[in-house]
Symmetry: C2
């Protein structure tokens, strides 16, 4: 007796949507949203366009699902790193180091899917990525404001600017080692500014 939860009525799917999202995520992360065509996706999935549109609605909608999946798995775990009570300079430095490590971990899928997606041409996909990007910035800002409200905007801008820069440099081919060196250098400013 397998998992037999009363299959739906019609002809069954020949592919697993969840796995398809994973494959699409890798494509988007590797090549960028604009550079991936629906034809690329359907070929990678071994299906035809109608199956794709029936399952996901549109390229942008599938992208939104990959973004959702990304934040839950490979994205930077801001909530974990920015634990309340953690010293500010230490916490922000940890964010930058985490970015350096993750963005440079896989050379074939370098950088941040969200940050890179925020520059794509398609408005729907771009807005989806921007929304997540804004949420992340807000998380950082609120963490800072809890202890240093007067410095929240300035420090958030600084950290986000570096995250964006690190993602870009990762895509330019910089490995985790070089990114980490940059992150550590950037942390010096945080320590100095916050009197660590």
């Amino acid at each position: 007796m397998t998992t037999n939860i009363s299959r739906p009525r019609g002809r069954p799917r020949r592919f697993d949507p969840e796995q398809a999202v994973a494959i699409a995520q890798r494509l988007f992360h590797t090549q960028g949203y604009d550079a991936v065509s629906v034809a690329d996706i359907t070929e990678a999935l071994g299906i035809n366009p109608p199956s794709f549109y029936a399952a996901f609605g549109s390229k942008a909608a599938l992208y939104a699902r990959t973004l959702c999946r990304y934040t839950g798995t490979e994205g930077i775990p801001l909530a974990e790193i920015l634990r309340p009570g953690r010293p500010l300079a230490e916490a922000l430095s940890a964010v930058l180091e985490s970015c350096a490590r993750r963005y440079g971990a896989d050379p074939a899928a370098a950088g941040c899917l969200v940050i890179e997606g925020a520059r794509c041409k398609d408005p729907e996909a771009r807005n989806a990525a921007r929304a997540l990007s804004t949420t992340a910035a807000d998380t950082i800002r609120q963490f800072i404001a809890a202890t240093h409200p007067e410095a929240a905007e300035r420090l958030t801008d600084y950290v986000v600017t570096l995250m964006v820069g690190l993602s870009t440099m990762a895509r330019e081919g910089h490995g985790a080692d070089r990114l980490l060196a940059t992150a550590r250098l950037a942390s010096l400013a945080l320590e100095q500014e916050l009197g660590a």
Copy 2:
């Protein structure tokens, strides 16, 4: 007697190529290379496609000319800022401040034309932008190496990462004031690292 330098033979042009490059530069800077179509350009210039191709060869070739023009006019004057003998921390901080000011000066054409062009989809245009980007990085690296050879790569990576980040944030709508605050914060790390 006007400037009468023996006009060329055939039918005269109805537009000024130099002015056309300036107009195209503004389009590319405002919208990004990929988002500007040849139709956009020809419409902005008030000419038809054949005139465009006869004068410039291709969209990428025109873009290369706009890049050339940009570095000579609106680009960061690295050669001026990185004058030999200038204290390193001061010089690199000046680079970052200059970026902050220029990238945020014109909200309609924010960021750096070269940096943003380095991510476009067209290989020819991308390589043209990358070449200039690499040249700029080399200039910075050599200036650092003149006095601090062991720190050249690390500091160059740091400065370039911030330049890229500043350009992106400018395109996200950050004004020169916010960019400058980030640049000044980033300079703290340089001063600390270099014992200023």
